[in-house]
Symmetry: none
Subunit: 404 residues, 2 copies
């Protein structure tokens, strides 16, 4: 069965934003076994959106639109779907009530233009949208379905996963399934990881193995195709076991697990608290850790330059291991890190930032501290992310070992 | 004149990579005055790529393809362009020599499959590619042009800027130009902004006006079309002036300017330093501010829960205005903020986080502090971003006023 994505928004054609929605949708459609043959982007123009939808409905069973569902005059998706499906727009009072409730809960007042959002094509199935104000809907046309989702990535992602995929599985009784397992590693570059698992990367194999690099991390994706999930997982298991054996403790987690998830879980297991000095990472380590539910009460951070931190903590700057220990004492915590990104030097025309990460454990009579030097190249934003990732990885290892 | 982008590559339809090329091309086409009405993505399938090109040539004067020019079997762009243009592929010895020279210079040996890359549609204009091995080409068909570029962003960008845009300006003697101006606002929802500027949002107007919402922010885009840049800017100016008049100090910046840029600039102009207590935003305010070059030496932050902060600072928790003042004194700074996100209550089935932002100024004998309450709904990550954005906005206003 075929699917097509129609992305709607002049800002996409003016190049003001990158369409990240399409990749997210594409991945999820692939996982249920829908083939995506076309993705089309059109601006906020009623005639062109309607024409794109007409073509899409001709060549695909499932058409997913994103964007153009807002309250303003340039939001034309509702009208365009109605035109392409040959139906009038009708007012759905329940949708208006939902929008009103959403606004009331936040203390906002509804504006008249929000009323427009309660109109959907006649006979369409409304999709309630608890994460935003744009009501979404599905128009069923013979064996086809046109599914209209918001352009805001968080809303679209929530609705796709929680409303659309269950709907598609139910209506089209998808068999054939694609299952992916992600092994997440930190500490080796992508080409080194590629060498270690290279014998699994032949095309046409089942499961297939691929690598994806983020800043400071490499994900290894194992993807199997089978008639049912159990069979797919059985194909993945021995490959995963062998790759884990080869990469050992370089693998920190699986699937959606992040380094911060693992560090936060480690803090919980040991019932430890953590204090971080961020002299260069600017709050990034704390920001990542505190996104993990429940972690905020175990994590605190000082964001300031190293010299200012030395004055605050009453230590002379020297080893960052000693700085980490001073941070730990200041924060009255069992674990601490001090990350200091130095002024860049230039090497082969590239800015290289010498970075030192200190880790300290103690508070139980057995104080220990260690220091790890790095040299990160690239633009400063990338360097910050790499330094934050390596700080989290050093904390993860200290939590596993129970000491710095 | 109309342009269309055809992005070629199954990896785009599997969602494994995000198509950043399209936004880059779109921006550059807009700048020379080409209207982009459609962008289409197809996989590595000869028949579908050829069909997409045939449609594109019918409805656009300039068709730009990216991807599918590599040496492997799944690279079908050359054959598809030849089919759509009704011409055979011919071998061009000079292209093979160029590829050989590129490989030789790097100490690589040519593989037989690279020979395939020296075939281009008969009569096509070859584009030399000094930054990669994929030869590119332009097929002229009556008044139309099909321009095939590589998928590798660095190569595509070089060729577009240095080969394609000069070619288009020369061949079509472009006069028209599209200029966009972005006004960035904080503090009103998109529907309210849409109402305030709604009279400018009629389709067919010149300039056109549209809105785009981010978390806590709304951008207003004013786009004008004219024969030259000065005329386009003159069309934009009165609309911008009127919208600025209506939205007044809700507009914090223009074009690529961010709230953190504006706050960092304000700190520099007043020669102030800032300390932020982040009890809930987890470091996000500091992280944003310290991405601005040079801002790190003016910004410090404490990331911890409100109770822990109270203990550290020796204040009893009550007003966050008083907390902000204690943070300011602790940080020895002229400006401070304290952002405290409270435990959520539920309303209409949704988690709502009561959030208080305190702002304090002083250090010159005239201490002042104020407190602003908010109620943010949504998932916690969104709430954090909204709270960080509103903190930055409150700091911006304090910097404009010179006091909390």
């Amino acid at each position: 069965m075929r699917a097509e994505i129609v992305s709607i928004g002049s800002e996409l054609l003016l190049g003001q934003i990158v369409d990240t929605n399409a990749a997210f949708i594409a991945r999820h459609l692939a996982a249920v076994g829908l083939d995506l043959f076309h993705k089309v982007t059109v601006g906020d123009n009623l005639a062109r959106v309607a024409a794109a939808l007409t073509t899409a409905i001709e060549r695909a069973h499932v058409v997913i639109t994103t964007g153009g569902l807002g309250p303003t005059a340039d939001d034309v998706t509702r009208e365009a779907v109605a035109q392409a499906a040959g139906r009038p727009l009708v007012f759905v009072p329940e949708l208006l009530q939902e929008i009103e409730a959403f606004f009331r809960a936040r203390g906002f007042t509804l504006s008249p233009s929000n009323r427009k959002q309660s109109y959907i094509p006649e006979g369409a199935i409304p999709l309630s949208n608890p994460v935003g104000t744009a009501p979404c809907f599905i128009v069923e046309q013979d064996d086809r379905a046109v599914i209209s989702l918001p352009g805001v990535p968080r809303e679209m992602e929530f609705l796709l996963v929680n409303r659309v995929l269950p709907y598609l599985r139910e209506r089209y009784r998808f068999r054939g399934i694609i299952v992916s397992r992600l092994l997440r590693s930190c500490g080796l570059g992508e080409s080194r990881v590629g060498e270690v698992v290279g014998d699994y990367m032949a095309t046409g194999a089942n499961p297939t193995v691929g690598t994806m690099a983020h800043l400071g991390q490499v994900d290894i994706r194992i993807t199997a195709k089978a008639d049912d999930e159990a069979t797919a997982r059985a194909l993945i298991a021995p490959v995963e076991a062998e790759i884990r054996h080869r990469l050992a403790d370089l693998i920190f987690g699986v699937d959606a697990e992040t380094l911060e998830d693992v560090v936060a879980a480690g803090l919980g297991q040991r019932d430890w608290t953590l204090t971080v000095l961020e002299a260069g990472t600017g709050g990034l380590v704390a920001e990542r850790l505190t996104t993990v539910p429940g972690a905020a009460r175990r994590v605190q951070a000082l964001v300031m330059e190293a010299e200012a931190a030395g004055r605050h903590l009453g230590v002379t700057l020297g080893s960052v291991a000693a700085l980490a220990e001073a941070v730990r004492v200041w924060g009255k915590s069992r674990l601490a890190a001090a990350t200091v990104i130095g002024a860049p030097d230039r090497e082969a025309g590239q800015a290289i930032y010498p970075t030192r990460i200190g880790v300290a454990t103690g508070g139980d009579g057995g104080e220990r501290a260690a220091e790890y030097p790095y040299r990160f190249g690239g633009d400063f934003r990338q360097v910050r992310v790499r330094a934050a990732v390596m700080t989290l990885d050093r904390l993860r290892r200290a939590l596993i070992a129970g000491s710095a």
